[in-house]
Amino acid sequence: MSTPSAAISPVLPATLQQTAAEAARALGILLFNTPEYQAYRQALHQVNRDADVQRLLASTRERTLALQRGQGDALEQRAALETLRAELRSLPSFCTYRQAEENVAGLFHAVDEAVSRAAGVAFARNARRSGCGCGC
């Protein structure tokens, strides 16, 4: 982000600014308590504790990085990546995680659409700080 947030301090009354922050906090609490988000948290906890999933994810990241850096034979790297992904998809905890994530992403997407429609500007697309959803 190139523009510091200090450059856009609102000229509207502070109470109005609070309203957006308060609505966002209320939305966060509501989302946290949805069955979709709780199932996602549970599934994430499980995959983080699953040694097979972690091993396969580490290998996937390693291969992806090698491919991006142009290391080794690209066709071989892609084939190896496909094998790793197939192995991942065969693990029950990863399947559960994927399903839970799909559900929570669908919910968040619907919420984002509602926010964006009212705002007149796409919210999530303009609010992203990183390319990753895990907060790392």
Partner: protein, 126 residues
């Protein structure tokens, strides 16, 4: 899919965002841009050229240097157009404000709301 409570809270957030000065400026700049026939034509031409060049590249075709130069020249024309430049400048003020507000949601969740709302691949995220 959304409960009434979620729908109402999401709408309240959207309406509060819309009132912010940065969003108002962006909406005005965006409307000015859409109303400018030359700006619309520039953007349409750039998008069409981009689609054509990337599609040919994806088919394995090597693009000529001149074609790439034409694309860059058109890009410059587009981004130097006062209406388009005004809209892009206004957009850069919306982003940090939205990110700041999204952080309020993220704090409650412990994950990045915006990234999940636009999620594509679980294997990259786990």
């Amino acid at each position: 899919m959304l409960t009434e409570e979620l729908r109402t809270t999401a709408r309240a957030l959207g309406e509060a965002l819309r009132c912010h000065e940065a969003v108002q400026k962006y909406l005005k700049a965006s409307a000015d841009c859409t109303a400018d026939a030359e700006a619309v034509d520039f953007e349409d031409r750039l998008l069409a050229l981009y689609a054509e060049l990337t599609s040919r590249q994806q088919r394995g075709e090597t693009l000529q240097r001149e074609e790439i130069d034409v694309f860059h020249a058109l890009s410059r024309q587009v981004y130097e157009h006062p209406r388009i430049a005004g809209r892009e400048a206004a957009a850069t003020l919306v982003k940090p404000y939205f990110a700041e507000i999204a952080d309020e949601i993220n704090l409650q969740l412990g994950v990045e709301f915006a990234a999940l709302a636009q999620a594509t691949d679980a294997e990259e995220r786990a």
